[in-house]
């Protein structure tokens, strides 16, 4: 069994992957930390040393959240420009 999730990429993540949105197929009962790890793998060195916060279905996830089919995961780094 697998599930499909939509990943929304912001700032450095978007830039590292070159896209705003991508779809990932994950093992059933995968969690949001798995998504972050997969995205870091895809991004390679570009996300080294960058903190990324995760939101699932537009709610901030302090701890890894078990995902369901169709969930949306947003990856949001802090930004410091002003």
């Amino acid at each position: 069994m697998t599930i499909q999730v939509t990943v929304r990429c912001f700032s450095h993540v978007r830039e590292a992957l070159g896209k705003d949105v991508l779809n990932l197929e994950l093992e059933d009962a995968a969690d949001s930390a798995t998504v972050e790890n997969k995205i870091r793998e895809l991004a390679g060195e570009d996300l080294n040393g960058i903190e990324v916060k995760v939101a699932v279905n537009r709610k901030y996830a302090q701890k890894p959240v078990i995902l369901k089919d169709g969930d949306e995961v947003a990856l949001i780094p802090p930004v410091q420009g002003g």
Binding site: F10, S11, H12, R14, E15, D20, D46, L47, N48, G49, I50, E51, K53, A55, R58, K59, Y60, Q62, A74, I76, P77, P78, V79, Q80, G81, G82
Partner: protein, 328 residues
């Protein structure tokens, strides 16, 4: 032609020959009688030439209906009272002319009471750069009573593309001083104090104390941490704004025990640098700084909903704007 409440008061003191005409509905006249004026009461459509054969001042509730009518009818000798009965009665209460705020006082969420609250409020802006300039301009124009500007930088030629308070001839001058000068010309009701220094753990107590709201317009995370910590301890609302190229973030921290920056970004390690390092279109801080200013007045006036407990994410490429719930 438009006249302010202050000018009308002067005309009355001079016993100037004129007609003052109140065109409001009976319920408005009853609820908000014009203080100290014997006005002719009539409807706009029934104004007779006899009434208008000398200088005439028309008064409606907010000065909008009468202004449109005078423009449409193209009447030279007929004057619109800016801000209408609301501004007139406010002026009569304490001789403070609020007519410049009439377009926001007409909003029930602000009104005369809210405007007086803004005039009594203190906002501190940390960082007078891309975010701080537009935020300071709008807050000053809105009639925030006291603005503290904190920045230890001087104006650089590369600031001019996105920091419209600065002009080419002020390169090398302290940003906070130049901004304070420009803002004092924008609205004399707003007292602007310049602090030519960077915020630190040592000076934050002196610089931030007494603020109703602190606006985070810095471009360094360490300064943000200083503000976050101080505002958490003192329960002061902190309006956060951050930029990365075409994207911006806004949130309100510490409002009524709401989350802090450290709750959301405990590590705050970013590979991205400042706008100087990464680049930014000048309009992006204009948009984000304006949203911060809007949230600041909403906090002062208690207008909800607001961005407390939410992180607003704006993308200037595809113009999406969305909120993440910060359930921390």
């Amino acid at each position: 032609m438009n006249i302010s409440a202050k000018e009308l008061s002067k005309w009355l003191d001079e016993n100037r020959q004129m007609n003052v005409v109140d065109i409001r509905r009976p319920d408005q006249r009853e609820k908000w009688p014009l203080a100290g004026i014997e006005a002719v009461v009539t409807e706009l459509g029934e104004l007779s030439p006899g009434v208008m054969n000398k200088t005439t001042v028309l008064i409606c509730q907010f000065g909008i209906i009468t202004q449109r009518w005078i423009e449409t009818e193209d009447l030279d000798e007929v004057h619109n009272l800016i801000g209408g009965a609301q501004a007139w009665n406010a002026y009569n209460a304490d001789q403070r002319d609020l007519s410049r705020y009439s377009r926001q006082m007409v909003l029930p969420e602000i009104g005369e009471e809210g405007q007086r609250k803004l005039l009594d409020s203190v906002v501190t802006i940390v960082g007078v750069g891309g975010l701080g300039c537009p935020a300071a301009q709008y807050l000053s124009a809105a009639g925030v009573g006291k603005l503290n500007l904190i920045d230890g930088d001087v104006v650089d030629i590369t600031n001019l593309q996105r920091q419209p308070l600065f002009r080419s001839d002020r390169i090398g001058d302290p940003k906070s001083d130049v901004a304070a000068e420009a803002l004092s010309e924008l609205n004399p009701d707003c007292a602007v104090k310049s602090h030519y220094t960077f915020l630190s753990d040592e000076n934050c107590g002196n610089l931030l104390a007494g603020s109703n709201v602190v606006l985070d317009a810095t471009d360094t995370i360490p300064a943000r941490r200083v503000m976050d910590d101080y505002c958490r301890r003192k329960s002061i609302a902190l309006i956060y704004g951050g930029l990365y190229k075409f994207e911006g973030q806004v949130s309100i921290f510490h409002l009524n025990g709401g989350p802090s920056y450290a709750d959301v970004f405990p590590e705050s390690i970013t590979g991205g640098g400042t706008c100087s390092d990464d680049g930014v279109p000048g309009m992006l801080p204009g948009i984000i700084g304006s949203i911060q200013a809007l949230e600041a007045i909403k906090v002062i006036l208690g207008i909800t909903p607001n961005l407390s407990g939410k992180l607003l994410l704006y993308n200037g490429l595809n113009h999406t704007m969305e909120q993440i719930e910060l359930n921390v």
